[in-house]
Symmetry: C2
Subunit: 434 residues, 2 copies
């Protein structure tokens, strides 16, 4: 499997080529469809795709561009995918469940509509685990199809990793963007909680639900992120690693990681040190301890209620993973426990903000190791849980390779709402490993 040429080129260059008339949107789409046709049989990234309709839309866009219409559409030439828990007005949305097979929402999710308004073209919907929880879809890891791509944003990670699209939306409630990004070898981004609008995305646990993204580079991420938030169009600021204050966060679950994963973090540390970064420990066990329990209380309480409709009309069509797992524990969580956990988490968020005031970036493992063998489980999200729970921005960079050839990543986090700065830092750190 090789990545398609289109996805190897930076997004901004391709968008510029389309704007200049040197490249047609149809050519972009055709190249991606070629990649889909050669890769998707083994990867199975899509829950819905209508290639003919996408080509028609590309032709419409090419006509508009040739006629000089809509010069404000800054993303003509971007073709993207969205996880199938994003509502779409013109494609079915099944949330990874047979209960909703063929469902047709009336509206596009906010983030999809925003990109479409800017001229981006939606290629299709990607496979999600059941209701963005743990029961897997059919997607395989593009690097080795005997391994999981991770979840719950399985199809989005796999689609970008195999070059089928250069950008895809996912969602993260625990580790559903960062982990699959690391498993598939792409750049994963979970923004600060609340930055990207969640309207039209099926809620899982609303207190944690975050729209995230998959790209092949931090630059591509920065470009689309800027459009999503109407930022002044400017490339990411350049940052020097020399003098960067890096906190190493091994987390209380360090012993759950494979040796090769722990080694990868130590390699990152020594590489950063050699480049002049100042390294400190970022243990903060006072914040991290107990976080897993608080996170599960809130997730369970909310998730079990989010799915009240399915519990009422089709409980037997829910997986036992879901019914006997988080739903069961959520229905046995008392409201006062939920309230107490929320209060504790608010305090923990303020604490981590203070801790982040002392460093530029925290580095940690995005997963306990490379993608596990088999498609029945999507891997362990424990190393992602703290940042999601604490609402901080996170980027996973595809920097390492495991002994079996599968990718491993480096997880970067920073204080709430320092997302743009984190991207700049991530770009600089990524450069060290080229």
């Amino acid at each position: 499997m090789t990545a398609s040429r289109s996805s190897q080129t930076g997004l901004s260059e391709r968008i510029q080529a389309v704007a200049d008339g040197r490249l047609r949107v149809r050519e972009v789409v055709e190249e991606l469809i070629d990649c889909i046709e050669s890769s998707n049989e083994s990867v199975r990234a899509w829950s819905f795709i209508d290639k003919a309709a996408v080509l028609r839309e590309a032709d419409n866009q090419d006509r508009d561009i040739a006629a000089g219409r809509s010069p404000d559409k800054v993303l003509y030439g971007l073709v993207f995918a969205a996880k199938d828990n994003f509502d779409t007005c013109d494609m079915p949305t099944a949330y990874g469940s047979p209960i909703h097979s063929g469902s047709k929402p009336a509206r596009d999710a906010s983030c999809i509509a925003t990109l479409r308004m800017a001229g981006a073209l939606l290629m299709g919907k990607t496979v999600t685990t059941e209701f963005a929880h743990v029961y897997p879809g059919e997607t395989a890891n593009p690097i080795n199809p005997e391994h999981t791509p991770g979840g719950s944003s399985s199809g989005s990670a796999a689609a970008v990793a195999s070059g089928m699209v250069p950008f895809a939306f996912g969602t993260q409630t625990t580790g559903s963007v960062i982990r699959p990004a690391a498993y598939c070898g792409v750049v994963g981004f979970k923004p600060s909680y609340g930055d990207l609008n969640v309207a039209g995305v099926l809620p899982n646990a609303p207190s944690f639900d975050t729209v995230g993204t998959f790209t092949r580079s931090v630059q591509d991420l920065g470009l689309v992120h800027g459009v999503l938030l109407d930022l002044d169009p400017a490339p990411l600021q350049s940052v020097s690693v020399s003098g960067l204050k890096v906190g190493v966060c091994r987390m209380p679950w360090w012993n759950k990681a494979e040796d090769q994963a722990r080694e990868s973090l130590e390699i990152a540390v020594s590489t950063l040190q050699s480049a002049g970064a100042s390294i400190t420990d970022f243990d903060h066990t006072e914040i991290f301890e107990g976080l897993e329990e608080q996170s599960q209380i809130v997730s369970g309480f909310e998730f079990s209620r989010t799915l009240a409709h399915e519990r009422r009309v089709a409980v037997d069509q829910l997986s036992s993973d879901l019914r006997e797992g988080r739903m069961y524990s959520g229905l046995h969580t008392r409201h006062d426990q939920y309230v107490e956990a929320q209060k504790n988490l608010r305090a923990a968020r303020d604490q981590i903000d203070d801790a982040f005031d002392q460093i530029d970036v925290a580095i940690s493992l995005p997963a306990p190791g490379p993608a596990p063998h088999g498609l029945r489980r999507t891997g362990d999200a424990i190393f992602n849980m703290p940042w999601t729970t604490l609402h901080t921005p996170v980027i996973s960079l595809p920097l390492f390779k495991a002994v079996n050839g599968l990718p491993m990543g480096l997880q970067l986090s920073a204080g709430r709402h320092s997302d743009r700065r984190l991207m700049s830092v991530a770009a600089a750190i990524g450069e060290l490993f080229v």
Copy 2:
């Protein structure tokens, strides 16, 4: 216009009568439909109702009850309504906009499914303003149809006030439950932010969006609230007004209130004082000042993005109130302003929590006066904005009457997540005015 007999009886008595076989669900429904047929021509509370289907469902429930099936359904006999920004799997959901006329969602909103699971029967969908913002629907105030019922939960407030249903869901992002409750003369409740699951409710500004309720009494509210949160079934605890610490909150907008509204608050103060309550001022201008600006920044930024789909496909079908109002200002709000406002609001919430530690309840005006004349505007939400923005629970009690005969309310608030205690306090205060 008179309220129907059914709605005058306490909910728990009727539910007990249904459980005991002394009353059939069909009888409950027929009585409410009688009320709808006599009142709705002038009130116009419903955006969708299918009386024949509701009667069929009532018969099914009566058969189940007679056969002893589903004894765990603790809300057989409760007939309720939901604002038309709650998704329903078997009724159209139009969000108060012609853009979505006839739309059919795949799922029930979480709160609707939860009540249905408990045996409650959904009568229909009630009129909302356009996307739960300000452009009004056709509903009139049941006390005087030349006056607004308030909004955005116009139909829900009017339906409960006119006895068409004893319980209705609304939503509040600024003042969309408490204000119409006060205008229509019913009990309005906006819970602590996050307590009631918002899945399946169309987002407006997710940082403030709260599912709220309309009932004829605080006891009815306590009953349904307990089921929604799976609380141990227990009646509200009894509270004595004597010794109660009451903070009087006139707010920086005190001069926007009509004389008769300001008088009503002073009557509340003296009545509470006579009953042995200890009264203090709860001014906290350091918290309240600037809150309106922060609230508008966050609301605008989020609301304009929540409606990205409609901006893209049907912008000319949006009201100019919406396009030129909050949407325009939201699209001209920078992301860094939004982030700063969110940070300020988090700090303000911690401050108000501390302030509420000193008192049992804050009393304030739910609106600047009784419902304004005319149906073109739904009234001013300024007195509701602080509590919604600060995430605290609020109850409006229908305690007063304006010179023109329209109701006026008393707004009660307390610290975050003291909702049950606030209900007990509200019940005790309400008793003083019987």
